[in-house]
């Protein structure tokens, strides 16, 4: 499986991802403020040439990353680069403000040096600039802690009088493990018993070099002062903080780091139950075609719901979704203000994607559980839908598809184009309203409930003080007046066993005889109707 950078389109093999992480290690960075991709610019570059391709005239001097959208630059956080390439490497060596990161080895080396006096630290190039007012960041603390724990466990093992060298003695060795387990709450009885004799539990960390960091009121006061001075604009929001782990505890915009681009891949989707591959893209990076594409939409009828008075301008194609009525508002029918408690007739159309005719049975729950409770009556709950035959069949038998539209408009007045259905001015129970090549429409009568019937709700009381219930659930609150009707759809059809795509049923028809297999499909779905007025 290959990963790629959506920014530079560089392909990254799985092994590299494992070793170097899930972000692009080239020069791909996003703006920590607005997430736009950053570009590398020279410090002594004409501002106008930001937008020109940078290989036209390679700028000189120190470089920095700049956001073309919001004008954020790494200069804002005091970082500039010597070279225009290997930005990641350079960035990892610089902290915000331009300070050089002390490599994680160094404190350890110092510790070792202080432990064994005879070997002084070889190079103490790291200046003691870890000034007391500068608290160590969590990465340093973590590595210090990790080193400390390792050291402690190693030290403890060293006190064991075993004839084994220090280096050979792994941390996973028996006595050591038993002790660790004992420390961490003990394990099996034997392990406990065994390690009871072992003295010297690991001690606690004692200073910053070992990962201990005390709460200091001065640094907190400094933060507050900074907060007061910088105000709202100097702080980061949750999205910015969560964009990349290094920004997780960046309180101020000065603490933000450029966000390395996350690597995506082309992912295969499998069925949840049978692990059958449902969708698979071509592995070539630049191709967007599918190798396997099994969509449920190709197997279940497409359902649309329209107001009966709303003259459809075209055959509805999209599956109606809860929020989509607003997008299909027409002048004739106002889906945004359905009048409550008034029976409204809708046209429910099912289009059959299969190449076999289907028999559909619809049902709705007797007592709808939705918030603006609507009463739903399907006038014709059982009907047939024709097969999805060649489009030309219809064109030849009926007319062109453009005429089909007008023909169906007329169909409201007299019989539908399919001929089998009986239409009329008044919708009749048990009758299909209209029928086409691979679609059938029936009438659904909906009596919307009142939207304002929200219960008053519990009062959230705290500290003896009454608090008004706040707005919590965004969906329910915002969409409290959206009328949706649950619908149970049952589809029956007969199909050729051999025509089935997968090999699951292929064996049935191996004699070459065209066997007809009866199939059944049943599921619940939800249709969005509109918003109830009031």
């Amino acid at each position: 499986m290959n990963w790629f950078c959506p920014n530079c389109l560089f392909e990254v093999p799985s092994s590299t991802v494992k070793s170097e992480g899930n972000r692009c290690t080239r020069n791909c960075y996003n703006c920590p403020i607005c997430t736009a991709p950053l570009s590398v610019n020279g410090l002594h570059q004409e501002p106008s040439s930001y937008l020109t391709p940078k290989d036209a005239a390679q700028p000189s001097g120190p470089y920095f990353l700049a956001c073309p959208y919001c004008n954020w630059t790494t200069l804002d956080i005091g970082i500039q680069f010597d070279k225009p390439h290997k930005i990641t490497e350079q960035l990892s060596r610089t902290k915000n403000g331009g300070r050089v990161v002390s490599s994680p080895r160094d404190p350890e080396k110092q510790r070792m040096g202080s432990l064994s006096r005879d070997t002084p630290p070889t190079k103490l190039q790291e200046p003691p600039d870890t000034s007391p007012q500068e608290p160590p960041d969590s990465d340093e603390l973590f590595s210090n802690l990790a080193a400390f724990y390792k050291n402690q466990l190693g030290e403890a093992s060293g006190t064991d009088q075993l004839g084994v060298g220090y280096t050979e003695y792994g941390y996973g060795s028996p006595s050591n493990l038993a002790r660790i387990m004992n420390m961490y709450g003990g394990l099996s009885y034997t392990a406990l018993k065994k390690s009871r004799k072992k003295p010297a539990p690991m001690r606690e960390a004692q200073d910053t070099n070992e990962g201990l960091h005390l709460v200091s009121s001065t640094s907190e006061a400094a933060t507050i002062r900074r907060l007061r001075d910088q105000g709202w604009d100097g702080t980061t929001n949750a999205e910015q903080r969560l964009a990349i782990p290094t920004n997780n505890d960046a309180r101020f915009t000065d603490d933000l780091r450029p966000v390395a681009t996350l690597l995506p891949t082309k992912r295969t989707k499998r069925c949840r139950t049978c692990r059958h591959i449902l969708a698979k893209l071509e592995s070539k990076l630049h191709s967007t075609r599918y190798k396997i594409r099994l969509l449920a939409l190709n197997y279940i009828p497409t359902i649309t719901l329209r107001g009966l008075l709303d003259v459809p301008s075209s055959i509805p194609t999209a599956l109606t979704l809860p929020s989509s009525p607003s997008t299909t508002t027409s002048a004739a029918f106002d889906y945004q203000t359905l009048s409550p408690t008034t029976p409204t007739q809708f046209l429910l159309t099912l289009r059959n994607p299969l190449f076999d005719p289907i028999r559909v049975t619809l049902a709705t729950p007797a007592t709808p559980s939705q918030r603006p409770a609507g009463k739903v009556t399907i006038l014709c709950p059982q009907f047939d839908v024709g097969a999805n035959t060649d489009v030309w069949d219809e064109a030849l038998t009926d007319s062109t598809s453009g005429k089909d539209k007008s023909g169906r408009q007329g169909g409201v007045k007299d019989a539908g184009s399919g001929g089998a259905s009986v239409g009329g001015e008044v919708a009749e129970a048990g009758k299909v309203w209209e029928r086409g090549r691979n679609w059938t429409s029936v009438i659904v009568e909906v009596v919307p409930g009142t939207a304002g019937s929200r219960d008053a709700g519990r009062e959230y009381s705290f500290g003896g003080e009454e608090v008004k219930p706040g707005d919590g659930d965004e969906e329910g609150g915002e969409d409290a007046d959206v009328l949706e009707i649950p619908l149970f759809v049952r589809v029956e059809y007969e199909t050729d066993a051999a025509a089935e795509d997968s090999g699951v049923v292929a064996k049935i028809g191996r004699e070459g005889v065209e066997k007809r297999v009866k199939r059944e499909l049943a599921y619940w779905c939800v249709l969005g109707v509109g918003r109830v007025a009031g």
Partner: protein, 578 residues
């Protein structure tokens, strides 16, 4: 013992043993098993503990999850930060095809909640009150989050079984834990899940062995006393993030209302919906996390920022001649913080005095305005909660914990909060000592006689405990020498020497710390980092749940006490209990 000659008779067995054990360390175990099935037993033992590489390094990468009611932290072991932090917001529960969050005006529309829903419900994965929790919904939300973590951030290539460490609160209700475990097993193809307690993880991430972990989360603040990596005590309060953001919303609503009354020109006929136009959870939380802060103890007592009239007046007063180095922010001129609220109708930019932004913390977390006797046990202010937790601990553990107060949880990031809690607790300890009785009433006259007369260390401090005590008294509270002041005869005897404690003392390099307990706060890297450290050190957890076992037995097999990280530690390990 029968073992040596048995081994002498069977060279093959001794060969096995010598090859697996490095030295004498595993001999006692062999000695304890005189049954004829010794070789077999030994072999199983060796496979468990023997080779350094077999059982603990086989699965090299181990996923670390840390689950709370608002966020899922997920990442790899031995890394300092989680690869991703995923929030359970309402944006995650939209239907497919609902693209409204990409609409340009999405952030300018305030989303109304359902009446009767609690504050922030849509942002929670679960509630501790499981009567109302839809476990199916929780499972779906969690599954989506885990899937996202795995596919987008972990980039695991195959369904290879892995180990998972899950850090959860040790008091997570069983149905929730079951759901979480089931989802993890189902989604991640984990071979086993090790449960860790968040408080233990926080202690590990602080570099300590014992601590008082104050986890200020969303729904509750949990104070857990941890002693030698074991949870020994726990107290809770509902004063946490939810209440805090509710208070912040109140402050913002007040400011909005005041602003509207001050300049009525600005409200464009929206007076009718004024009652409905309140700040949302997101807005309150945004303000809280960005510019919310917490006063220090002295200035909170001096300038209670509660009353809005006072802060409004304070906004105008200019007394900026103080040196900037002063800690108390209220002493210097109070700048106005501009807070844009684009979702209000009409969009406004509030200008709030800076010290007003610290009042929610005072009200919600420290309950300055509420007298103590009005508070229930479940909504104790933080410093009282910490103090009571310390009070309920045995003295030696108390002394350890007192100097190791670890504040963690999302709310603890509020600037100033950590030092405030610690200074409040220090003051409480100084004023009250370790006396569970706050007021002796009519018997207070007799107090000097019975109060710790058995302690030579405290005989200099004879003051009645209900008035302020001299500060050096807390300094004399020795870890070993205090006991509960209830005069039981046993306490008059000299304390029994505890060999474990003595050993700890001896080996502890930090003798000075445990001798003079001062109230001290220790920073932690958080539960996730702690779990990552634990995993990185190849420490095996107490509760490890195998997939097959879970599928068969659920949590039934995990022993009586569901002790994560070592409550009890007896029979906790899956293999031995099953």
């Amino acid at each position: 013992m029968a073992t040596p000659d048995y081994l002498a008779r069977k060279p093959s067995a001794s060969l096995i043993r010598s090859s697996i054990s490095y030295g004498q360390s595993s001999k006692p175990a062999a000695g304890h098993s005189p049954s004829p099935s010794t070789p077999l037993f030994k072999r199983s033992l060796s496979s468990q503990f023997g080779s350094p590489s077999s059982s603990f390094r086989a699965e090299d990468d181990c996923f670390i999850y840390s689950l709370g009611s608002r966020f899922l932290h997920a990442g790899f072991m031995s890394e300092s930060r989680p690869r991703c932090i995923l929030a359970f917001g309402p944006g995650e529960s939209r239907r497919a095809g609902d693209y409204r969050q990409w609409a340009p005006d999405f952030h300018t529309i305030r989303r109304r909640g359902v009446r009767g829903e609690d504050w922030g419900r849509a942002h929670e994965l679960y509630r501790l009150d499981v009567r109302d929790v839809d476990l199916g919904l929780m499972q779906d939300k969690l599954e989506r989050a885990i899937r996202q973590a795995q596919t987008e951030y972990f980039m695991v290539d195959s369904a290879r079984p892995r180990k998972i460490m899950l850090a959860v609160s040790s008091a997570l209700p069983r149905p929730l834990l079951l759901t979480a475990l089931g989802t993890l097993f189902q989604v991640s193809h984990a071979s086993s899940i090790t449960l860790l307690s968040t408080s233990i993880c926080s202690v590990v991430a602080a570099g300590l062995r014992s601590a008082l972990v104050v986890d200020i989360g969303w729904a509750e603040t949990i104070v857990t006393a941890v002693y030698e990596y074991r949870e020994v005590g726990e107290r809770r309060s509902v004063r946490a993030g939810k209440v805090l953001s509710l208070e912040m919303a109140k402050v913002l609503n007040d400011e909005c209302a005041r602003r509207k009354t001050q300049n009525p020109v600005e409200r464009g006929g929206s007076s009718s919906e004024k009652a409905d136009d309140e700040v949302s959870v997101e807005e309150a939380e945004g303000v809280l996390t960005r510019v919310g802060w917490c006063q220090d103890r002295d200035s909170a007592r001096k300038h209670p920022s509660d009353t809005s009239s006072k802060s409004a007046a304070g906004a105008n007063e200019v007394q900026s001649n103080r040196p900037v180095g002063a800690v108390a922010a209220t002493e210097i001129s109070i700048p106005l913080i501009s807070i844009p609220l684009p979702a209000a109708t009409p969009p406004i930019t509030l200008r709030i005095p800076f010290n007003r932004l610290s009042s929610p913390a005072d009200t919600a977390l420290f309950a300055l305005s509420t007298p103590l006797h009005d508070l229930d046990d479940h909504d104790l202010p933080l410093h009282q909660l910490v103090y009571k937790s310390l009070l309920s601990l045995p003295p030696d553990i108390r002394a350890l914990c007192m100097a190791r107060i670890v504040l963690t949880g999302g709310v603890s990031q509020l600037p100033g909060l950590k030092s405030r809690v610690i200074s409040e607790v220090a003051t409480l300890v100084r004023e009250r000592g370790w006396d569970p009785v706050q007021s002796y009433g009519s018997v207070s006259m007799k107090l000097p006689h019975r109060h710790r007369s058995d302690h030579p260390a405290n005989e200099d401090g004879d003051e009645p405990p209900d008035i302020a005590q001299s500060p050096q008294r807390s300094a004399t509270l020795d870890a070993a020498s205090i006991s509960l002041p209830v005069p039981i005869p046993a306490s008059q005897q000299p304390q029994e020497p505890d060999p474990v404690l003595a050993k700890l003392r001896h080996h502890s390099h930090s003798n000075a710390d445990s001798r003079a307990p001062t109230t001290r706060g220790v920073e932690t890297l958080g539960a996730w980092a702690g779990a990552s450290l634990i995993a990185g050190l190849r420490v095996k957890g107490v509760v490890e749940i195998e997939k097959d076992d879970f599928a068969k037995n659920g949590l039934r097999g995990t022993g009586g006490v569901f002790g994560i990280g070592g409550v009890g530690g007896v029979g906790g390990k899956r293999g031995s209990a099953g």
